[in-house]
Amino acid sequence: MSPPLMALQWAVNPGSGVPLPPRWGWYVILYFFVGGLAAGCYAIAAALDLAGEPRDRDTVRTGYLLALPGLLICTLLLIIDLGRPERFWHMLIKSKHVPALLLKYWSPISLGSWILAVFGLFAFVAFVGAVVDAGRLRWRAAERAVAGVRRLPSGVRVAWLALGILAGCALGGYTGVLLVGTTRPVWYNAIPLGGLFLASAASTSYALLLLLLLRRGRAAADPALVKLSDADGWALLIELALVVLLLLMLGAVARPIVSGVYGALFWIGVVIVGLVLPLLLHVRHSERSAFAGLRGRAVLVLIGGLVLRFVVVMAPQWPRVPPWHL
C-alpha cells in the first residue's frame, strides 16, 4: 500500500476546472438595462393601449416612442460587444448556408437574438403609429398605413398588442435566463434571475415613464400617473420577493454577490436604494395621499435597476474581469 496521502499538502494548479468568465462588461450591462426599459415601456404602453382610456394616451405614446430607440441602442451595444462585430448576422442566419435561418431555442443567446428581432417588429410598428399620431410624420404612405391599420377589426389589434406584450416580456426576462444558461457558479444556480430581471424591467420602465410624464408638467396626483405609480409599487414588491428567493436559493454560493465591495453595492444600491426606499416612499405616498417625491422615487428605482445588473453581471466574473471592463 502506498504511504498514506491523507495529510498531504497539495497545491492545485490554477489551471482549468472552473468555467471561465465570458468577459461580459458594460456593453452587456447596459444592454440588459436598456433592453429591460425598451421591453417594459412597450409592454406597459400596449397594455394601456388595450385598456383604451383616453387619459392614458400620453403614456401610451411615450412608451411607444421609447421602445424603438431603446431597441436600436440595444442592438448597437450587442454588436460592438462581439469579438467580430461584422459577423453579427451569424446569430440569425446560417452563414455557410445563406439565407437559411438559425434558431437554437435551447440556447438563450440564440433565442434572445430572435426575441430582439421579433420585438423589433412590434417596436417599429408602434413607433411609426405614435409618430403619425403625434402629427410629426407627414408622410402619406405612413399615414395611409396607420389609417388602414385603424380600420382592421379590433380582434386583430388586440391579438397584435397581446403578442407584442409577450415579446416584451420575453425580452425583459430572457437576459436573466441567459446568465443561468452558463456553467459559471452563481449564474448557473440563480434560477430566479429571469424573473428578477423581468420584474426589474417592469419597475424601471414604470419609473422612466413616470419621470418623463412628470417632466412634461403632469401633476403627480393625475390618475394616469397614480396608476403607473401603483403598478410600480407592485413590481418593486415582486422584485424584492425575488431577491429574497434568489438569496435563499443560492445560499452560500451567493457570496460573490453579497460580500465585499460588490456586496456593499448590492445591499446599498440594489436592496436599499433600489427597492426598500422606493417602497417606503410609495407606502407613505398612498397613506398620506400626498405627493412625496415621486420623481425622487423614480430616480432611485432606475439607479437600483442599473446597479442590480452591474452586480449580477460583474461579481461572478471577479477577479478575472475588472469592474470597468467594457
Binding site: 482549468s16 476546472g17 471561465l20 459577423r87 451569424h90 443567446i109 444558461g181 403607473l228 415582486i238
Partner: protein, 272 residues
C-alpha cells in the same frame, strides 16, 4: 465511431512534448505579444488552457506537512497531467453557440469553425471545464482534436509526440477498455486509480483521464454541469413573474378606473 484521447496521468513525465507538438502543428505562437509572465508554480509556465495553449501540462506537488515524518519526503507525490478539451458527448459549448460555429464532426469531436464564430463568448461561460478561450482575433479557440490530421488518417500531433504514451488516441470504447485494464493493474499493486470521464461526467468525455487522486486535485470539477440544466426552470420562473406582473398591473390600472367610475357615478348626486 467516436475518436478521443485516453490520458493516463500515471505515466506522464511532464516533458510538455504534447504542448510543443500542438503549437507546431497548429501554428500557435508561444504567447501573445508583450511581457513574458512566469507563473512561479512548479514547472508550469503557461498556467491554463487558453486560445494559444490547447494542451496544458499541470504539475501538482503534494508534500507532507512534516517533511521528515517517515524519512525525507516520504509520502510526497508529484502529479502531472496533460489537460485538453474533453470533446464531451454532451458539450456545453456546442449547446449554447448561437452562430452554429461549434459543430460535432464525423469523428464525434467538437470543432469550432473560426470562419463562423462571431466572438459572442457564450461558449466560454458554457464549458464546465474552462477550456474555450477568446483569442486576440476576437474568435473562440480550443483543441480541434487535430481535425485536419484525422481527415487524412493521421493521429493528433500531441498523441504522436507523447514519449510515454500517456496520451493515447483512438476509438473511445477501445481506449476505455485499456484504461479499465490499467486501473485494475494499478489496483493490484496497491495504487488506487479511477477513470474520470465515464457516463457520470456530463454524459461521458471522449477525452478522458486516469487519475490517482480526486478530480479537484487536478483542477477538474467533481460534478460538472451542463449550461442548459437550469434554463427550463428559469424560463418557468420568468413566465410566473410575467403573470404576476400582468395581474398586479391590471389591478392597478383597473382599480383607478373603478374608483373613477364610482366618483363619476356619485358626481350627479352631489349636484342639487
Amino acid at each position: 465511431m467516436a475518436k478521443g484521447f485516453y490520458t493516463d496521468t500515471t505515466v506522464c513525465i511532464g516533458c510538455k512534448a504534447c504542448q510543443v507538438a500542438c503549437h507546431q502543428w497548429n501554428g500557435l505562437p508561444a504567447e501573445e505579444p508583450g511581457e513574458r509572465e512566469l507563473t512561479g508554480d512548479s514547472y508550469d509556465n503557461t498556467g491554463t488552457l487558453s486560445a494559444l495553449n490547447w494542451r496544458h501540462v499541470k504539475f501538482i506537488e503534494q508534500i507532507p506537512e512534516d517533511r521528515h515524518q517517515n524519512g525525507f519526503l516520504d509520502g510526497s507525490r508529484w502529479l502531472m497531467m496533460s489537460d485538453v478539451c474533453k470533446h464531451c458527448v454532451h458539450a456545453g459549448c456546442l449547446e449554447v453557440c448561437p452562430t452554429g460555429a461549434i459543430i460535432r464532426t464525423e469523428f464525434d469531436s467538437v470543432f469550432i469553425q473560426t470562419d463562423v464564430c462571431n466572438g459572442c463568448r457564450a461558449c466560454l461561460a458554457a464549458c464546465p471545464f474552462g477550456v474555450v478561450d477568446i483569442g486576440s482575433d476576437g474568435k473562440a479557440h480550443k483543441c480541434t482534436l487535430c481535425y485536419d490530421r484525422l481527415q487524412h488518417g493521421m493521429e493528433p500531433a500531441c498523441a504522436q509526440a507523447c514519449p510515454t504514451d500517456s496520451i493515447r488516441f483512438g476509438e473511445v470504447s477501445e481506449l476505455m477498455a485499456l484504461a479499465e485494464q490499467r486501473a485494475a493493474d494499478l489496483g493490484a499493486h496497491g495504487i488506487q486509480a479511477q477513470i474520470y470521464g465515464k457516463d457520470d461526467i456530463v454524459g461521458g468525455l471522449n477525452c478522458f483521464y486516469l487519475l490517482v487522486d480526486k478530480p479537484e486535485v487536478y483542477g477538474l470539477p467533481a460534478k460538472p454541469e451542463l449550461p442548459s440544466s437550469n434554463v427550463a426552470a428559469a424560463l418557468g420562473g420568468s413566465a410566473a413573474t410575467a403573470a404576476l406582473l400582468a395581474i398586479t398591473g391590471a389591478v392597478s390600472f383597473r382599480k383607478r378606473r373603478m374608483d373613477d367610475m364610482s366618483r363619476d357615478e356619485s358626481a350627479p348626486e352631489d349636484e342639487p
